[in-house]
């Protein structure tokens, strides 16, 4: 009982003003969300290129993209984040050296978006490729028979028809992106998990802060699920429901 009473007595530590650490947690959450949104968007961009390359590219580009997706899906995110983090900053500083400029400190936010984006790109590429392959061929043939141009086929048939197949996978990837941001705590980027660890270490109220951070992550997930289900319903509009 002692433990529970101290748990509730310490709730004031979550207040937003400086004696409490709530403000730090919320700032960390903002950083996490920024990285998740940026990394997800970059991953989607890379994923579209990967999917196009794997579906329509030549044998060489297919194999190279195959290497990319295989490596990313076989190596732990933590190792990839370390490799890309150091390699990425190294490459940029080498470039600066060649251009005759001073080495720069890489913005943690940009580095985080870069590594999450590379990881997400491999997965979203596979999701998009699968969704495009799931479109009934007859629909595309019908469009071509009606004299649609390639761009028209893409905009009017391929994109709307693949969305119902792609959205569940892409939604999963968004949730993975929000949780993968926690890994950046290991390279010292002050997102929600690292802020939580610092607050917990400083106040010695570990349970309180880790539970609070868990609630924040859960809230992000629940709100995301709500939004995703609406997007999913929108993407299925007009399709016969079984």
């Amino acid at each position: 009982m002692d433990i529970f009473s101290t748990f509730f007595d310490s709730l004031h530590l979550l207040s937003l003003e400086p004696p409490g650490w709530g403000g730090n947690l919320l700032r960390g959450l903002m950083h996490s969300l920024q990285i998740a949104v940026g990394g997800y968007a970059l991953g989607l961009l890379l994923g579209v290129f990967t999917a196009c390359g794997k579906l329509y590219g030549g044998i060489i580009s297919k194999d190279i993209l195959g290497c990319y997706t295989t490596i990313v899906r076989a190596v732990p995110e933590l190792v990839l984040i370390l490799l890309l983090y150091y390699a990425g900053t190294d490459v940029i500083n080498q470039l600066m050296f060649w251009l005759g400029k001073d080495p720069v400190n890489i913005n943690g936010l940009a580095a985080g978006i870069f590594v999450i984006g590379i990881v997400q790109g491999a997965y979203s590429g596979e999701v998009i490729r699968g969704a495009v392959l799931a479109i009934p061929q007859g629909q595309l043939e019908a469009a071509r028979a009606y004299g649609f141009t390639g761009w028209q086929v893409l905009r009017r048939i391929t994109l709307p028809a693949m969305l119902p197949y792609a959205i569940p996978g892409l939604a999963n990837l968004w949730l993975i992106a929000t949780k993968d941001t926690a890994l950046l705590a290991v390279v010292g980027f002050s997102e929600l998990t690292l802020e939580t660890r610092q607050a917990a270490g400083a106040t010695r109220h570990y349970m309180l802060f880790y539970c609070a951070a868990g609630v924040l992550y859960l809230l992000v997930t629940l709100i995301s699920n709500h939004v995703i289900s609406r997007i999913e319903r929108w993407s299925r509009r007009g399709i016969y429901q079984v």
Binding site: I59, A182, T193, R197, Y206, T221
Partner: protein, 282 residues
Amino acid sequence: MNDLSSKRTLSGTEGESQAQSAGVFSWAADKGFALHRLIMAAIAIAIVLICAAQMRWDWLPEYHELIFEGLWRTLWLLVASVVIGFALALPLGLVQVTGPAILAAPAKAFCNVIRGTPLLLQLWLLYYGLGSVFPAIPEIRDSWLWPYLRQAWPYALLSLTLSFAAYEAEVMRGAFAGVPKGELEAAKAYGFTPWQIFRRVWMPRAIHRALPTLGGEVVLQLKATPLVATITVIDVYGAFTRVRQDAFLTYEPLLLLAFIYMLMAGALVLFFRYMERRIPVK
């Protein structure tokens, strides 16, 4: 870089035309070794050789024992968390399909909470959070569990197991629900007891349906294990982290580490492919 890539495209197109004409090459193409693949493999081997020659590997003999110890710990954590997690996932998935609401609701809540929060946070919650609460409880301090609870690996195993159970319960829920009703009714008509139906029809059919997903989930679990190094468990990732700190090297240990994880993931994929082939579909 520029001339390397142009060389690749050139030899690739050559390879295509040659593969159609020459006998050796058409044999290679039949076997799935198109010439451009052979050339890409050669480039990959060249990159590996350059890495081996140009980078520093003198630390390997000194640390190989630590690395093997870490490798053993990673595999051990993976197998234990997958086996225990799967055993937990079966009832968690089943009660969500058939169970009374009083069991189904907590099972669903458990899955949502675990799947909605990062594993790193769960790990730190268990290790730092529970780890700071336990010493304050005299009953636990005096029990036989205490010597274990003072170490880090039980927390690592617990959080990995719970995480695997939650993700796998979701898979098993779908698999249990997907077994055709007629098969269960047929078993019932043959006079099977509910336990026999579960053990002989429902569970085997569900596991068979979940097997392809299970392979992927185990690879994902392998990729989750390095997180335990953040709570002082020296797995293979932790061993290489120590190398990096001691030898002041950035890339060499990380590259070798990535390669080791790729080998392990590849072995898992092959193992599950073999299992899938061994279990007949019909």
